[in-house]
């Protein structure tokens, strides 16, 4: 019987493929419009701030803060049910984008995670690609 694995993205999905391509170099990428400076996340081909399409990819520093979080104690997903309790969080990158991810590398999730906590990206390799998780600074 094969072990259930973390649900992986489709690394070739049209809008998000360049983001996942960046993870091969452990780069956390986001887009900014070259015409109006609007930060675009999740990735798209068009600017939502102006009518432009000239979006430039930037590498984020990987540092951010926990905007909010929950500790999942019940899951019926074949992979995640083996990992309860685990922390899901909205992480605000210093450059503006907000990512959904897990906070890892903590002791007791009931006391060791809080809103506003500083975190840094930590990569979980999957083949050449990697999933961006976050660990307290």
């Amino acid at each position: 019987m094969t072990e259930p694995t973390r649900p992986l993205p489709n690394f070739e999905e049209s809008d998000t493929a360049p983001f996942w391509e960046g993870t091969r170099d452990r780069q956390l990428r986001f887009q900014r419009c070259n015409d109006c400076d609007t930060v675009i996340f999740h990735p798209r081909r068009h600017c939502v701030g102006c009518l432009g399409h000239d979006l430039i990819w930037h590498d984020a520093s990987g540092q951010g803060t926990v905007y909010s979080y929950s500790i999942v104690r019940q899951s019926y997903h074949p992979f995640f049910r083996q990992h309860v309790p685990y922390v899901v969080a909205w992480v605000d990158l210093d450059e503006g984008p907000r990512l959904l991810s897990n906070v890892v590398g903590i002791g007791d999730p009931s006391s060791d995670v809080h809103c506003g906590m500083a975190v840094r990206v930590e990569w979980e390799p999957h083949g050449d690609y990697a999933i961006p998780l976050f660990r307290p600074l």
């Binding site: 809008d15 909010s68 999942v72 104690r73 959904l100 009931s110 809103c115």
Partner: protein
């Protein structure tokens, strides 16, 4: 007060009574049974229907739903925005009727989520196919944890407590215990220790996704229902007094850098709906608000203007939302809500049905002389992408 437009009214309602069909009925069969009962309630029949509103949840599409019912409608609307689809349908039906494109609109809902053992809250599935899912599904966010993140941020910013959130569960259970269908639902779904609850009961129940406890989460039932909305001249000849649709608002909201998840799309839909109705939240006798979770209600009460943002926790304290305290504010979810009566996945239609019961004087937790109600649906996930549908209703 501005002059209210009374263009369309709810004239027929039916809530499918069973919450556990034991796999013996399909969603489409529940929809059709509910439709015929709601038409009978109105004193109308199949051939009177010229507008169909359907979220597609039963498996039929805009191409096939009329065929299943055996109708030839001139208006077909298959809007699906999740659980609030029925608020959107009511808004669209009213507009179609006001424009003389339809005279009798049929809204139906059917689901066998319980029989199918759908793990709606804890299965960890994404929304399916939207590009952002491809950046989110790896994290194992359950639906409950999504809402829990709203609660956590609300606590962080405003000092809201689990005890305050529990007030919402306690009020809806108080109402459920007066509704025989809700009590039977809890029995059929094998709830333990079925009785009125206290704040302590709620905060001592098992944590599902911090900070949300078991008794702050809705049930997963089978079920369905139907609503008939008709033009004023039709409504005058129906069996019951019309329940007028006075105002409607629609909105969506989604994750963005810097977005505030302590507020929902109701901030946008509420003022549109109340503005069109020419009444304010302080005039509402009844608040039928989508109670997927305690935090959904607290957030939306604030967003609709019942109290200022951040003060909802204090505002709901002391049993304020009970049906027998009408001087203190609106009665909340007097059928027992999704928390304690009926939640087959998309509860929005029941908000319209119970609001109509109250304005007809037929609720099992009746507010004496109720004249105004708001039915507000939330679809999708409160902490990420979601929809808001506000429908303000008035008695005849």
């Amino acid at each position: 007060m501005s002059v209210q437009q009374r263009d369309a009214a709810i004239v027929g309602i039916h809530e499918f009574p069973s919450r556990d069909v034991e796999g013996e009925l399909s969603p489409l069969q529940i929809k059709a049974q509910s439709a015929s009962k709601a038409l009978a309630d109105a004193g109308l029949t199949w051939s009177d229907v010229d507008g169909i509103y359907d979220a597609g949840e039963g498996g039929a599409s805009g191409l096939t739903i009329a065929e299943y019912f055996g109708l030839s409608p001139t208006v077909i609307d298959t809007t699906n925005v999740g659980g609030s689809s029925y608020q959107f349908h009511a808004a669209h039906a009213r507009r179609a009727i006001a424009a003389s494109k339809a005279r009798v609109a049929l809204l139906t809902y059917g689901s066998t989520a319980h029989s199918n053992v759908s793990r709606i809250g804890t299965g960890g599935r994404g929304m399916g196919g939207y590009p952002a899912d491809n950046l989110e599904s790896f994290a194992g966010l359950t639906l409950i944890a999504n809402y829990a993140m709203c609660a956590r941020r609300h606590m962080f910013e405003f000092g809201t407590t689990s005890e305050q959130l529990a007030e919402i569960s306690v009020a809806t259970r108080c109402h459920a215990m007066r509704n025989p269908d809700a009590v039977r639902a809890m029995e059929d779904l094998e709830f333990l220790d079925i009785r009125e609850t206290t704040v302590d009961d709620v905060v001592n129940s098992r944590m599902i996704a911090d900070p949300l406890h078991l008794l702050e989460c809705c049930m997963i039932s089978d079920g369905g229902g139907a609503v008939i909305i008709a033009a004023p001249d039709v409504a005058r000849d129906c069996r019951h007094k019309p329940v007028w649709i006075l105002g409607t608002g629609e909105a969506t909201k989604y994750p963005e850098g810097g977005a505030d998840i302590t507020s929902s799309a109701a901030v946008q839909s509420g003022p549109i709906g109340f503005g069109e109705a020419g009444v304010g939240p302080d005039e509402m006798d009844i608040a039928m608000i989508y109670d997927s979770f305690s935090i959904t209600v607290l957030t939306i009460l604030e967003d609709l203007g019942f109290c200022p943002k951040g003060e909802g926790g204090h505002w709901v304290e002391g049993g304020r939302l009970r049906f027998d305290r009408p001087s203190e504010g609106p009665a909340l979810n007097t059928d027992g809500g999704g928390l304690s009566s009926n939640h087959p996945g998309m509860r929005g239609i029941f908000l319209l049905i119970e609001a109509a019961r109250q304005l007809r004087g037929e609720s099992t937790a009746q507010v004496e002389g109720a004249k105004l109600a708001v039915a507000h649906g939330n679809g999708g996930m409160l902490g990420s992408r979601h929809s808001a549908g506000t429908v303000v209703l008035g008695g005849d």
